[in-house]
């Protein structure tokens, strides 16, 4: 299948081996542009998908009580000079199930491309989901990513999402995640993005702590340099007794780049508590000095600090 050759080539380019993803005991979904290339269900993990003019429609269901030993892999990419990709994805985890999803977004080749993701994620009571999304872009700066996710975390469930875009140029990123957290459930959202040249980054991550004893953490790490711009909104709403939330945003700005952080914190129950911290600025001088004292040049020290933060 020629599309899989493209996939292999793209993985080789980022230094990873795609073989485990396509192994017979591993659930996967592979899409190139608007076309579905491959999907594979395994016992307890059902993947349904179809592609049409509007893009890819996919649904992944994990059976109740199932603990998946290997991650479910979702591969999205465009391996042509330009193209669009629209994905509507529904993920549902049955009660007390546990799964890890790795989403590989490969846009190293196109000069100009648009990837739009609209995801609905539903964690039923006691379920646990770790969702890792890693983007690999080329140096064109012509990639646009518009990602929307609406997540419901049921009673006693746990959701952890980790978004990274630190390789290649961002292009334009518009990320909007909204998570509703139920009774004694928790949600952690972590985003790491490195913007260069004229990249534009807009991130909005919101957590609604609607259930008693709900927990939420929104953590954002962004570095921008050259003329890149970043606007970050980390929002947490404490709406129930015993709800605890924290918003933590750190942005490093270099050259003529511009960054802003807006922590949006609202509490509507007297027994809820939400805290926030945000720091925007250049690299900490003391950290630079500490690394220079071990022989690194100023530029090497700054790179080490930025990559550590985004690593």
């Amino acid at each position: 299948m020629p599309d899989l050759h493209d996939l292999y080539a793209a993985f080789r380019q980022i230094g990873e081996d795609p073989a485990p993803i396509l192994a017979p005991d591993t659930a996967h979904l592979v899409a190139q542009g608007q076309r579905l290339v491959s999907r594979q269900s395994i016992p307890g993990v059902r993947i349904e998908a179809e592609s049409g003019e509007a893009g890819i429609l996919a649904r992944v269901e994990v059976a109740a009580g199932l603990v998946i030993p290997r991650p479910v892999h979702l591969c999205f990419g465009i391996f042509e000079p330009c193209g669009d990709q629209n994905v509507a994805l529904v993920i549902s985890l049955g009660p007390a199930s546990r799964a890890e999803f790795w989403s590989h977004c490969l846009f190293t080749l196109p000069e100009r491309a648009r990837h739009a993701m609209d995801a609905r994620v539903d964690l039923l009571p006691g379920a646990r989901l770790d969702y890792r999304e890693a983007h690999y872009h080329g140096l064109s700066g012509g990639i646009e990513v518009v990602a929307r996710a609406r997540v419901r975390v049921g009673e006693g469930a746990r959701y952890r999402a980790d978004f990274t875009l630190v390789q290649g140029r961002v292009g334009r990123l518009d990320l909007d995640y909204e998570v509703e957290v139920g009774t004694r459930a928790s949600a952690e959202l972590l985003s790491k993005v490195y913007g260069r040249m004229t990249d534009e980054i807009a991130i909005r991550e919101g957590v609604r702590l609607n259930g008693e004893g709900a927990r939420g953490l929104v953590k954002t790490r962004v570095a921008v340099e050259d003329e890149a711009q970043a606007r970050i909104i980390g929002a947490t709403y404490g709406n129930a007794a015993g709800a605890r939330g924290h918003v933590d945003c750190l942005e490093i700005v270099r050259d003529r780049a511009v960054a802003s952080a807006v922590p949006e914190v609202r509490v509507s129950h007297p027994q809820a508590k939400v805290t926030h911290e945000a720091a925007i600025g250049s690299v900490d001088e003391r950290q630079v000095d500490a690394l220079m004292a071990r022989g690194l040049s100023p530029a090497e020290a700054v790179d080490r600090i930025v990559l550590g933060m985004l690593g």
């Binding site: 750190l250 000095d289 022989g295």
Partner: protein
């Protein structure tokens, strides 16, 4: 004893305020020199000035180290000459492992160095150098980092502050190792450490007000006999 560090007439002003005045300091190879003084006397500022830290450019005097004029030499080039500093409050880093930090510029096995400050390498090398470490752990790692560099001159800024009582002896051994491998400029408020030095100076209000045998300098400091301030500034801290 071959002269390793020679500081003459050093002056430093920060924000329009004089921090160091006409400081002279000399250290030979194999020497352990202790710097005493009350809080705010200028001890750490002198250390930062010697090391070339950001924001600490001297406005007078000269510094010569191992035959090189330090002048405008940037921090990393001073480090490459063999100057090292263990910060009083070491920096923390997100995403940087202890192993990676200690490996930077290392000239000996970082794991061994951790063991010598009482931290099991298997436990600590994989850890992150962030706020999950206590202040004492971070300071011991900093000291291990200086050991790993095998510097010609180690500047140790209050290396035992915040370290638990049981580990003080290990730190004292580390100081002796650094002295044997090069030389040490030690800033401390621990009398027993100061007493074991080869020589000592007392800073008061940014000036060296007393120098010589450690016992004599310690006694002068404890007696608040500083002629410059009549003991008032020195009195901020009762004993070294």
């Amino acid at each position: 004893m071959t002269r390793l560090l020679d500081v003459a007439g050093l002056g430093l002003s920060l924000g329009g305020r004089a921090i160091l005045w006409d400081v002279d300091l000399a250290l030979g190879e194999g020497e352990l020199h202790v710097l005493l003084g009350a809080n705010g006397a200028g001890k750490s500022s002198l250390a930062y000035c010697l090391m070339g830290c950001t924001g600490y450019p001297p406005d007078a005097g000269r510094m010569r180290f191992a035959g090189h004029e330090l002048g405008d030499l940037p921090l990393h080039e001073r480090a490459r000459l063999g100057l090292a500093l263990a910060w009083q409050e070491p920096a923390r880093f997100e995403g940087l492992r202890v192993s990676d930090y200690l490996a930077l510029g290392a000239r000996t096995d970082p794991g061994d160095c951790l063991a010598r400050v009482g931290l099991p390498p298997a436990d600590y090398l994989p850890r992150l150098l962030d706020k999950t470490l206590s202040g004492g752990e971070r300071k011991r790692i900093e000291l291990a980092g200086v050991l790993a560099l095998r510097p010609r001159l180690a500047i140790l800024d209050e290396p035992t502050a915040g370290i638990d009582f049981l580990s003080q002896e290990e730190i004292a051994h580390v100081i002796q190792t650094l002295r044997a491998e090069g030389a040490v400029l030690l800033i401390t408020h621990q009398e027993n450490l100061a007493a074991g030095a080869d020589s000592a100076s007392q800073l008061c209000g940014g000036r060296i007000v007393c120098r010589g045998e450690p016992a004599r300098v310690i006694a002068a400091f404890k007696a608040r006999s500083c002629q410059r301030c009549d003991g008032e500034t020195c009195d901020r801290e009762a004993s070294p």
